[in-house]
Point group: C2
Chain length 168, copies 2
Amino acid sequence: MALSFYDISVPIFLRGLGQLSHLLDKGLAHAQASGIDPTTLVNARLAPDMYPLAGQVQSASDASKLGTARLAGLTAPSFPDTETTYAELQARIAKTVDYLQSVDRALIDGFEDRPVTMKARGNELNFTAQRYLLQFALPNFFFHVTTAYDILRHSGVAIGKMDYLGRF
Amino acid sequence: MALSFYDISVPIFLRGLGQLSHLLDKGLAHAQASGIDPTTLVNARLAPDMYPLAGQVQSASDASKLGTARLAGLTAPSFPDTETTYAELQARIAKTVDYLQSVDRALIDGFEDRPVTMKARGNELNFTAQRYLLQFALPNFFFHVTTAYDILRHSGVAIGKMDYLGRF
């Protein structure tokens, strides 16, 4: 069976978003069981100039949404970063999943050489879709899911590697 | 140009290992500039029961070494987890790079359906090589590189996202 460009991209984002939602559930349950205001976790961060948990979830949403749109040659919908509660962060993940699922695999499969141009820190970066996926979009997506995990773990939430990787 | 199973695996590990080495360099420079014993950073962790920086580097090494070996149907070399200094961690990364570069791409390309069996937490997990790469090996690898970044960032090292993603 030949490799499919869709299969190595969108389902990986979808799986990671599902695990991110699961990690948030664990964080909320921890807050409720410990009598901590859940907002404390939403605003927790690892360094003063790093995004808090909310920003990590928003960034994972953006990485997968923009990643999928760029692979498909589409313009991604804009999701304003206004979430301040667990319920709102879960809704952000759900609408990201909905968008990813709405993209036809026929727009992605076979288009690994599609030119992808993006601006980052004032520079214009030029990729093929394949190089963009593997060197930018996937590592960036996993960065934000992992950092969300690390914030929760640093805050005392009882999670382990399989809560990040998921079931097999 | 058709997708190559080698191209979506080994070069991604190699790039990530290069960035991990770069992040360690930044950590060492920070320790030297701040008059901190570099060993403090090697032993820094985000939670009492999480691996410290050394363990994250060892785990990223293992994830890429075992990942590559399993895709190629080989047995990976054993690297004992004995590193306690920056220099030793850099040497661990270098020998991991050497091993990855020694694996012939002909053992991986076209073998996306190769059966991969592994034990995790007492369970036997069965994958195709493609599913193993995308659902386990790559997310696990990026987890440990990102957590190394997060430990350094949490310890005050001045690094940013591009130090993780690399140059384009």
